[in-house]
Amino acid sequence: MSPALPDVGTDAELDAGLDADLVVLRGAFEVRAALRTPPDRVVALLGPNGAGKSSLLRAVSGLTPLSEGYVRLDGRVLDEPSSGVRIAAAARGIGTVFQDGLLFPHLSVLDNVAFGPRHSGRSGGGGVGGRDRGGRRTRRAARAVAADWLARTELAEFADRKPAALSGGQRQRVAITRALATDPRLLLLDEPLSALDASASVAVRSFLRRHLTEVRAPTVLVTHHAIDALVLADEVVVIEGGTVVQRGSPDDVARRPRSSHVAALMGLNLLRGRADGAVVRLHDDTVLVPTAPVSGDVYASFRPSAVTLHTSRPHASARNTWPGHVDGIAPHGDVLRLHLTGPVPLLADVTPAALAELDVHEGDRVWAAVKATEVDIYPA
């Protein structure tokens, strides 16, 4: 009854990892995305709450049916409505870490981690044998595998505790270890840090960074925090409103966002307009001057620190200059970050001294200007 493994040949190696192209319905909301993740790679699904990230993950793991498309893992079809294939979640060899860990409250840490090795039908997981006639590991063998994993993830001291006696961060580390201990072919992390407080999420993030490499499985990480995607992922897929709006390396997504959500996450100003060689005309009819000629629909992004503020219009022309009102002022590191409303909403960073000199307060009218050399313009 063990699931058939694909032949390890050239084709299988080409197919290794996750290959999914799917449509999931969540009520009337449709989520449509393609994901390709080779082994050893971490893909982050980044997007606001309700964008459909978790729906995608549930479909890949087999907890929610697809309405169209397919899910393949290491060349094997796990789900394909058109051909009637649908492998049960328990037989997919996919490890999942849920947002709030969901350790079994009635089992010790050791038995939580041993649960996968004991019940999953898969072989592997090292040389610890010992199986009963049903192909399951014996309790003793499963516990040995679990103890080995807890030692590797430096959690051995908690082995005998019940989950209720652990902190949130410790629970989540155990939950991650529990998923790793099944020796998964694919690892899914569904907002693994969202339920944690700031210091615990830092600790668990570095825990993930250290231990994700322990299994040679592609990993899909769902998050709405930019930092998780930047620190942990090799590729970032931005999802908004049920569709993929951007995919690229973390660096690319961080520097050249293509949605106001990601721009806000990365702390960048993002404007959209149409270029005709010498100038970019924004939707409010203001004009941005690029350093090199471009044409077509473009995005323009620049850092809040590149924005300078003035109490009167800085030069005669309307180029790279926008009027606005100060909507809010908040400390941001060493500087103050101003939220400006106007024809285009902007973020501007100024030093406290500069702000005092300007004598600008919330509700005041200001002019914001940015140097052309500070603006990154890229095709939409």
Binding site: A89, G93, T96, F104, H119
Partner: protein, 276 residues
């Protein structure tokens, strides 16, 4: 009128006014109705020759029969009722609402009607009873088995409803976690759902046991009242009362003590903080 040196504590809820008399009076009457009969029972008990009556053959025989049959009925309820409760709570089959409604029927059915229904089904000429007798020579009616069947019939709904509630409140996401760890649904049921629903199952079992112990109407109709075979404690109370009212009180006291004792013991051990 207040005595000096003794402060009255401010009544809780003073901010929203006094508790209305229309609530206090019926509540006090309800409590009196529940407690007074127990006091009456104790007041009229023939304490002088209590031990002698208690150790009489008919009482010990009936007590042994009652404890045995109620315990077997409780086990039968667990074996049959927990799976049914799981299906009602976790699966989404067609007609589930109808099944749940059918499960609750014995709750509202007068037990004596249940007894007649069992007789019509498992009796010598019953729908199931006749072929059973013709083929295997089995006769259920008027045997200890009939007592257990009657008790299970009336107690099962209590267990099913209690366990269904417990399984529902055991977070279904743990089922998903177990599946993601590769466990089959059966293993998930054994290793995750059952332990999580454990306190609810325990309280359901206690309820079922108590209901089986007190079963009278269905038993006397379906199983009769044969000493040592089918005459359980409630039947012994009824029979004794025909001729010897103080004797009936003694047997009733025994039932009262056994029920309260078992409930109290199980409440502490199993229910802990759940129902307390």
């Amino acid at each position: 009128m207040r005595r000096p040196g003794r402060r009255r504590r401010p009544a809780t809820g003073a901010a929203v006014g006094r508790v209305p008399a229309l609530i206090v009076i019926p509540a006090a009457c309800a409590l009196a109705l529940l407690v007074l009969p127990l006091i009456g029972l104790l007041a009229r008990a023939p304490w002088t020759d209590l031990t002698e009556r208690l150790t009489s053959d008919s009482v010990t025989t009936a007590l042994r029969l009652s404890l045995t049959t109620a315990t077997i009925a409780m086990l039968a309820c667990l074996v049959l009722g927990v799976p049914l409760a799981w299906l009602l709570a976790r699966s989404n089959f067609r007609g589930r609402r109808l099944v749940r409604a059918l499960v609750t029927v014995p709750l509202v059915l007068p037990p004596v009607v249940g007894g007649i229904a069992l007789l019509a089904t498992f009796g010598r000429t019953g729908v199931v009873g006749e072929p059973l007798f013709d083929v295997f020579g089995w006769q259920v009616t008027f045997t200890t088995t009939a007592v257990v069947v009657a008790q299970t019939f009336v107690a099962l709904p209590f267990l099913v409803l209690a366990v269904e509630g417990a399984v529902r409140s055991a977070d279904a996401r743990y089922d998903e976690v177990a599946a993601s760890l590769g466990a089959s649904r059966w293993w998930t049921f054994l290793r995750v759902t059952l332990p999580l629903a454990g306190p609810g199952i325990a309280s359901g079992a206690v309820l079922a046991w108590a209901r089986a112990l007190g079963e009278f109407g269905a038993t006397i109709t379906f199983a009769g009242s044969l000493e040592g075979e089918t005459r359980t404690m409630p039947l012994e109370v009824y029979k004794t009362y025909q001729t010897d009212a103080p004797g009936a009180i003694v047997v009733s006291l025994v039932l009262l003590v056994v029920s309260i004792g078992v409930l109290a013991a199980m409440r502490e051990r199993w229910l802990g903080g759940v129902a307390a």
